[in-house]
Amino acid sequence: MLSTPTDPSIGVLEGIKEVINESGAKVIDVIVHATTLGTNAFLGQAGLELPKVALITTEGFRDVLEIGRQRRAELYNPFITKPKPLIPRRLRFTVAERISHEGKELKPLSKDELKKIAETLRDEGVKSVAIVFLHSYVNPEHERMAEELVGEELPNAYVVPSYKVDPEYREFERVSTTVVNAVLMPLLSKYFSKLNSLLKNLRLGRPELLIMKSDGGFSTSTEAGKVPAATIESGPAAGVIAASRVAKELGIMRALSFDMGGTTAKVSTILEGRPEVTKEFEVGGKVHKGRLIRGSGYVIRYPHIDLVEVSAGGGTIAWVDEAGHLRVGPYSAGSEPGPASYGRGGKDPTVTDANLLLGRLGDSLAGGEIVLSKDLAVQAFRKKVCSSSGLSLEEASYGTLTLANAEMARAIRIATVEKGYDPRDFALIAFGGAGPMHACDLAAELGLKKVIIPLAPGVFSALGLLLADYRHEFKASVLKPLSKVVPEDLEGIFKSMESKARRVLRDEGVPDERIFMLRYADMRYVKQSHELVVEAPKPFGEEGINYLREAFTRKHEEVYGYFMSDEAILVNARVSAFGEVIKPSFRKEVLKESFKSPPDLIKAFRRTYFRDSGWVRTAVYCRSSLRPGHEVEGPAVIEEYDSTTVVPPGWVLRVDGFSNLIIERI
C-alpha cells in the first residue's frame, strides 16, 4: 500500500477496505492507529506543508520561542545552526497584559490590541493560533479571555492556549509545546476527525477510532485531537507496549524492551509490566552523521515512553577512521541499497554482513525472498575495513559485531544505570528483525541472565497496538513548601483530577470497574529545579505530608547519595488514569514438568563464530518446528520468517507455554 501524504486518510481507508475484503469481516469494533504523520511533517516530508500558525504572547516577549534556551547544540562546530522557528517572527504578536508569579494581575489584558491582532490574523489566513502568556500556569484568566476573543474573530481557526495543553512553569518549554500543538492541529486533528467520519461511513458497525500516544496509552480520536503533539512518537511506543505485555504475562518485574531494526536500536525499561515514561522530548531534531543532536529539535513537554535510541541496526556501516581504527555507525545503508550481501548495490560492510560472515545468518532471509551473498560481504569488508586497518576478515567482522553491541550496551546503560538501576536485574525482551540475533551477546556483555524472544519478532511492534490501554495524564501546579500544604486542599486537588479523569474515560466508553488511577507528587528541595517523582497516598490525610517528606528524602538519598535538612516543595500533583481494555489473550499450553530436547528437528549444521569458543559446529532449527516444552542447548541458531535467534554456547533455550523462546545462562 503506497502512502498518500497529501491526504493520508485515503491510503489508510484503502488499506482497511483491503483487509475487510480479505477477511470478510462484517463489523469493525475498534481501529487502533499509530501514525508518523506528525514526525514526517516536521522532518519536511514532501507534500506535507506545515500550516500557517501565529503566536500571541505577552508584550516584550515576542522572541522567546526563537531564542529558546540560548544554547547551541554543538559546542565546537563553528557552522552550527538553530532549528528554524515553527512560527516566523512576522506571525508572532505581543499584547499588553501581565500576571505575576503569584497569579496577581499586574496589567490588564488589552482587548483593543488583541482585536487588532485578530484582524491581521484573519487577513493573513492563519489556520491556527497559539496563545501563551507569562505565568498562565498559576492564573490562566488572561489566556482564557484571549482564547474567547480570538475564537470569536477567527471561527475557522484552531485556538490553542497554553493553559489547556501544558500548564507548567518555564516559559520556553511551555510556548514550544503549545506551538507544536498549534502546528499539528490543522494536520493531525483534522486528519483524525476526517478518518473517523470516513470509517463511520463504511457501514461496518460504528468503529471506534483510537489513537496511540507517545506515552504508550491511547485515547479516542476526539481526545487525541485536542493534544496532537502527544501522539507524535506513537510508532516506537507500540513495540514497548507489546514487550510490557509479555513481561506482565510472564511475571517479570524488571524487563528491557530491545527493538533492533535496520538502522537503529531502541531500548526502554519496563517495571512491573509498565513502561517507564519521561516528561519531555524533541521532535524534528537535526541528525548529524545519523545521530540526533539534542537541542536541535522542537521541545514537547509531554510524557513519552522513555526510549533510548542508538545508531545500531542491521544496516549500520562498519568503517575505518583516519587513525586506522575500526568504527561502526552512525552511518547506515538503510534498506536501500542495504547491506552489501543483499546484492542491491551496497558497497559498505554492515552489521548484517558481519552476522552472515560469522555464520549467524543463513544464506537467505524472509523465507528465501532475499538471497544473501557471502562473496559480496567478504569483498566489502576486505576493501573497506581489512585493507586500511590491518584486521583479518574474522577480526573485522567480529569487531563490527562487538562495536555494534557496545553501542547498544550504551543505550541499555543510559536506560538503566542513569536512573540508578542495575542492568543485571533485568530480563531482555528482544525483537525487531535483528534483535534476537544480538540479544544473548548483549546480555552477556551487561551481565543479564535471561533473554526472551516473543513470537513473530519482526512484526511484534504492531501487536502493541492491540495491547494498550486508555491513558490520560493530569497535573496540577501546586508549588508550595510541604509545610504549607493543607492536606484537605491537596486531597481536593487530587479528587478533582480523578473525577475529571473518570469523566473522560467514561466518555470514551470505559466502564468504572476498568478504570485505575495512580497519584504522584513531583517534589524537590525548594532551591532545586529538577523534581523527583514519588507516589502519593490515597486518600491524602494528615499523615500524607510526613509520608511525602519521607518518601522524597529516601528517593533523594537513593538518587544523589545524600539528603539535606532543607524544606521540600511539592511542585505538581499528578494523576495517571488508565482505562483497561479487554485484550486478545495469548494462548497458553500447559507444560509438563521437564523440558526435553526435540528429537530430529535439526535442519542443518553450520560453522558459527562465538567470542569464547571461536568457530563451532552449530545446529540450525526452524522456529516453527519447535513446540512448547522443547529445550535446545547452545550453540544453536533458530531461523524463522522474519528473524534469526542466536543461542551461544553456555546458554539454553526453552520454549514456554506461550511459544516464547526463553534463553538463560546455564
Binding site: 516584550g60 516577549f61 515576542r62 522572541d63 522567546v64 526563537e66 531564542i67 534556551r69 540560548q70 544554547r71 547551541r72 554543538e74 559546542l75 565546537y76 563553528p78 557552522f79 552550527i80 545552526t81 538553530k82 516566523p88 517572527r89 512576522r90 505575576s100 508569579h101 507569562l134 505565568h135 500556569y137 512553569y169 518555564r170 516559559e171 520556553f172 552523521k289 577512521d321 583516519e322 587513525a323 586506522g324 581504527h325 575500526l326 568504527r327 569487531g399 562487538t402 562495536l403 557496545a406 550496551a409 550504551r410 546503560r413 544505570v417 542513569e418 508549588l479 528541595y525 532551591k527 532545586q528 529545579s529 529538577h530 538518587v559 544523589y560 547519595g561 545524600y562 539535606m564 532543607d566
Partner: protein, 564 residues
Amino acid sequence: MVDKVTSEVIRRGLEYAAEEMGIKLRNAAYSPNIKERMDHSCAIFDSSGSNLAQAEHIPLHLGSMGWGVKKTLNYLVKESIKLSEDDVVIVNYPYISGTHLNDVLTVAPVYFRNKLIAYTASKAHYVDVGGKVPGSISGDATELHEEGLVIPPTKVVEAGSLRKEVLDLILRNVRSPEVIKGDLMAQVAACDVGSKRVKELAIKYGVAVLEEAFKEIIDYSEALTKASLLNLPDFSVEAEDYLEDIAGGEAVIHVKVIKANDSVRIDFTGSSPQVPAPVNAPYGVTLASSTFAIKAVTDPQLPVNEGFYRRVSVEAPEGSIVNATYPAPVGASIETAQRIVDTVYLALSKAIPEKVPAASCGSMNNVLIGGGNSDGGGSTWAFYETIACGYGGRKGLDGVDAIHCNMTNTMNTPIEVIEAELPLQVIRYELRPSSGGAGEWRGGMGVIRSFKLLTNKAKLTVIGERVKRRPWGLEGGLPGMPAKYYVVKALTNEVIQLGSKATVTLEEGDEVVIETAGGGGYGDPFRRDTERVLQDYLDGLITAEEAMKYYGVVIKGNEAFRRT
C-alpha cells in the same frame, strides 16, 4: 596489549560517565546558574592527571580543567597533603584551578582495591564567592582578594565525610550560603557517580587493561588530531584584537599561529602586560580559548583529551594579560577568553577564511545583581547570568541569532524562575533588530533583555565588551552593532549609560537594559540574495532603509528588487 575494540568501549564508557556526572550535578544543584543554566562541566582524568574524557559542557571549563587538575595535584604533593579513598578536594585559586574564583573545581581520586586509578573532576560557577560586589565579579577590582574567598586545594570531604569546619568557613564567606551549600553537595554527588562508573570499568576489564586503554585513548586522540591537522595547509599568521574600558584605556591581544605538518604553535608574545583590572587571564583561560579555535577549524567532533593538547602548544609570556600572575585580579577573564578566540580566528582567517566565522559578539554579557535584604532579616541574595548575542556570519550560512558563542554555552534562566525566586521582574526578552552586521551572509542578531528591581536597593555589575569596538566582519562583511548596557531610573526616567564594565547601585523600580552585540557579516552585502533581504525585512529584523543602504535592495510592500 588492549585491543582497539575494548579501548573504544572504555573511551565511550568514560565519556558517558562524565555526562552522567553533569546530569547529577545539574539535577541536585540549588542555584539557578547551575540547575537552569548548566554553568558547569565534568571530566575524568587518569592517575597522572591527564584528561581522558569529558562531557560537552562549557568550553572554558573543559579546556582549562586539564591544566587545573595537574596543578592541583602538584600542589598537594608539594604541600604533602595525601589523598586517600573517598576524599574530595576543592579549589578555586585561579593560578591553580585555571579560571576565575567563581569557578569552583572539585577533584576526587578514584581508588580500586587500594590502588589509585583515576580522578574525577567537576567545575561549577558559584553564583557568589564573597568579595566586594554581589556575584563577586566586579568591574574595578585591582587585585585578586577583592574578588572573593580564595580556596587553595583543600579537602572538603575526607574518607567519605564532609568536613564541617571547611564547609562552614566557605559558607561564612559567601552571599547566599544555603544555595552554595546545595551546589557544593551536588558537586560531591557528581564526583561520586563518576568514581562509581570508573570502578565498574575496573571490575569488568581489570586494572591492567583499563590503564592500558587510558593510554590508548590518549594516543588515539592524538592520532586523530594529527590526521586532521594534516588536512590543513601549513601557515604562519598573525592578528591583534583589543579589550576595552581597562583602566581608562585598551589592552591588546597579539597572536601568532604557526601550523606546520601535524602540529600547531600559538604564541601570544606582544600582548599587553597584566593590568590592575579584572580582565587578566590565568594561563588556563588562554589555553582553553586558543585551543578551542583550533579544534573548531580542524575537526569539531574530535574527542578532546590530553592527546589533542600534545599537538597544540600555547605560549604566553608570564605577567601578561594572557598569562597573569598573583595578585592580578581575574574575575572578568571570561571576557578575555572570548577575545582570545576572536583574535585566533582573525589570524586563521588570513589562511583559511572559508573555515572561520566573522566575529561573534565577543562577550558573555555578564549581569550580576544582588544585595542584602533591607528588612534586616540578615539574608543576602545574588543573581548571575550571561546573555546570548549574535554569532558571526559564515561562508554559506548567516550567523545565528540570539545564541551563546565560543567559550560559553550556558542556558538562560527561565523568566518564570527568576520572578518566582528573586526580587526581579523581567520586562523584555527579544531579538535586537538591525544588530547583525550586513554581509552576503549576515551576522546574527543580538538580544535585548531587561530587568526591573522590585526591592529597595541592590548592586548591579555588568561585565561586557564590544561597547566601543564592534565585532568585525570578514571578506567584505560589515561589523555587527556594538553592545549597549544602561539603566533607566524609576524616579527620573533618566537613562544612565554604562560602560562595558560597571558597578552601580539600583533603586526600586530601576530597569536594567542589556542590548547585546550582533555578529559580524561575511562577504560583500551586495551579493546577498534579494529574497533573504526581503525575509529579514518582513520579520522586522532590518528596516527598508537598511535594505537599501547596505544591500542595495529596494523594498515595496511584500516585494524586493535589486537596484541595478
